[in-house]
């Protein structure tokens, strides 16, 4: 039987994997995927709370829809930026972006 703590634990694990992806990966594409996992964890959290603790909180449904939209938009803009930089620099490695510092 799945219960709220299980859902929250899975979401926390997902969030942890996302954070690891953001901090541990050097490729911008992989970092974007990490961010998507973090957002997925938030959505799973809200859905879990909606199902088990607050079944009548309709604003939660709306929240999940908003987060889904955010995920798509952030992905789209992120990949566009990576393509734009790749065209001029021939790299998608975040560690190679060292022109600006100080």
């Amino acid at each position: 039987m799945i219960s709220l703590p299980v859902v929250l634990a899975v979401a926390a694990l997902l969030f942890g994997v996302g954070v690891y992806g953001v901090l541990g990966q050097t490729n911008t594409i992989m970092i974007i995927m990490g961010v998507e996992l973090m957002l997925g964890a938030a959505m799973l959290n809200v859905v879990g709370f909606l199902r088990y603790s607050h079944p009548h909180a309709t604003s939660g449904d709306f929240f999940v829809l908003v987060l889904m939209t955010l995920m798509a938009l952030e992905g789209a803009v992120g990949f566009a930026l990576v393509v734009s930089v790749f065209r001029s620099r021939r790299t998608s490695e975040a560690d190679d972006l060292t022109e600006l510092s100080g």
Partner: protein
Amino acid sequence: MSPNGGTFTQAQRAEHEMLKELVWLSPIGALTLAAAGAVLLAIVLPHRRQALVAWWVGAMHLAAAGLAAYVWLDRGFRLTMSGTIAVDGLSLVFTALVGVVGAVCVALLRPAVAGTDREGELYAMLAFASLAAVVLGAAADAALLALALAALGLATFVMTGYRRASPTAGEASIKYYIFGTVSGAAMVYGLSWWFGLGGSTSFAVIGRALPHAPAVAVIASTTLVLVGLGYKAALVPFHFWTPDAYDGAPLPVAAYLSVVPKLAGLIALARVMMLALPHNTVGWPTAIAVIAAATMTLGNLAAVAQRNVVRLLAYSSIAQSGYLLMGVAALGHSHLGLAALVYYALAYAATNLAAFAVVQAVQRERGSADLDAFRGLGRSHPWWTAALVLSFLSLLGLPPLSGFFGKLEVFKAAIGAGQAWLAVIAILNTVVSLYPYLRVIAPAILDPPDPASLPARRSAPLSLALVVATTATVGFGLLAEPLVNLADHARMLTGG
């Protein structure tokens, strides 16, 4: 009468109520129209007519500012759209501020990007950013906060990477993007916990539940929410993107970034903390005060080492975030906090725009914004130098300029809130910040003019923006008392 008759009239009444609320949302409507219209105009108009997009966006920004004043004077404050958008003194002042700042930034942008191949779209992105910032400043609901924060981020990432041919622009926008989306995702995860603890996305409802929730869960989720808003406001330790983004972006975009998203983040922070964590739950004012101290100290110390004036202004804007944050830290204990925050926000916006406008004028003529480019400016360009001196001394906080009264108000608020130690740190910081600011001003006045000085390159919109911003820098200082009284009326709606 049908059995559904009662609910039908109820639905009709609800619809009527929502239509009436559109008056309160008219400033947001004007900015929506500005953005949508700009996209259409940018597509339809031929390349040489793209200046019309700038006129449209600038005029609609001013219209939004005017409508904000009208709503305040004629309609008063109200929670609209089922309590998700707070149209109150705080959000209306911020809307008017964004309207004027947006118009000034369009005037600064035009000479910088005229004739480039995506000019119209840049004005459209600026309008979208202003729209998102205004919604962020008024959001009383977690879903709307997440939406506005992400929309503001996406618009500003694209604006930062505008000069596609430049190698630094792409790097700046990618760095800005990574920091922005990661901190935004962390905030959203924190908000999902708030939803679970409160049973609603409304901050007012969350605020009734959080004081009784387990402290560990509240502290952890609040920290995550702070990450997202702290990044927007460039607070330590989420400030790393700031100098790179300002350096890589076109200068007028950097001027915009240093004012609008930063103040939107701070105002959203003030609103979220007051609504969701009433009665100083888990001691957030102390945490905010510590962040404020760290932010101003790090900003000022890092500014000392900079040789590029754009990066110097970036670190200076981080330091200014710290002073502004003192107003937020005082909110929980003293009514002075909000008035101080609002007045300082006005003073900071005027002062920083004036400073960026001067740097843009100098960079336009000399091709560089290094310290050396400012040597001997006093002889060749007395008016620019006057604006430079006034704006930098206002950033430093010298009377009778607006920056001085802004600092005075936040210091008073901090002492009133029992955070005298923070006021002491802020005063020490002001002393440290003498060096970076004077390092730009002194050679400009004292050094002989550069023998290879080029003839002045004039630009009417740039000069106009410079005059407006500098006048406001001085004027807000001379009108400090009535403005602080006005700011004291800029209350926040806490019901809902």
